[in-house]
């Protein structure tokens, strides 16, 4: 069964360092998302991506965050200068359909745990 894969599963970094989290969505999906979950808390939307551009982003997704799909298969989330409060589980998800009127099922990866020291 096709699945979303994420790497790394766990990354520890020093405050101020850049981090890149990688995702390989399901191959025929068109819509891609990043969510984050601080330990034991709610799943927060960060950004949605379609047709090689951001379709929507949350207030959390400020200038230190960026996403790209560099090679047609990988979907990356970059955090330029990490802060302590960026420590969280970051989930990538993909879908055949958008989050709008024809909402499709989201397929999630297992997440990348980011620890900022």
């Amino acid at each position: 069964e096709p699945e979303v894969t994420q790497t790394p599963s766990h990354q520890v970094t020093q405050m101020g360092q850049e981090v890149i989290l990688r995702c390989v969505p399901i191959s025929n999906h068109l819509y891609f998302y990043w969510y984050r979950q601080i330990l034991g808390q709610k799943v927060e939307f960060l950004v949605s991506f379609y047709n090689n551009e951001i379709s929507e982003k949350s207030e959390i997704f400020d200038d230190q965050f960026s996403v790209e799909r560099p090679d047609g298969s990988n979907f990356t989330l970059k955090i330029r200068s990490t802060k302590l409060e960026d420590s969280a589980m970051y989930f990538c998800a993909s879908s055949e359909l958008s989050g709008g009127a024809d909402t499709g099922e989201l397929f999630f990866g297992e997440g990348s745990r980011l620890t900022v020291l």
Partner: protein, 109 residues
């Protein structure tokens, strides 16, 4: 915000009993989804119910949707230890899907 709110926040029941979780949301929707998350894992889609549906079944899951009350419920019948997880309702909002805070379900042996 379109975020749904699940109720209760946590629920502990004996194995074999039924578990009911509720979700309330704020604005009109055309569908609502439920997801499950085992501890430390990714979310897994359980079921989608459309606004023109009142009830939907999938195995031991039963979902209801009351658009007049802006609420949904998820019923898990004959609970098993493996049902221990967090359950989230999710609603569409423009080009994203928004998750509630979840209900932590614990099945006692």
């Amino acid at each position: 915000s379109q975020q749904g709110e699940e109720d209760p926040q946590a629920l502990s029941i004996q194995e074999g009993e039924n578990a009911t979780m509720n979700c309330s949301y704020k604005t009109s929707i055309n569908n609502l989804q439920w997801y499950r998350q085992n501890s430390g894992r990714g979310l897994v889609h359980l079921i989608l119910i459309r606004s023109n549906e009142r009830e939907k079944h999938s195995g031991r899951l039963r979902v209801t949707l009351d658009t007049s009350k802006k609420s949904s419920s998820l019923l898990i019948t004959a609970s098993r230890a493996a049902d221990t997880a967090s359950y989230f309702c999710a609603t569409p909002w423009f080009d994203k899907i928004i998750f509630g805070k979840g209900t932590r379900l614990h099945i006692l042996p």
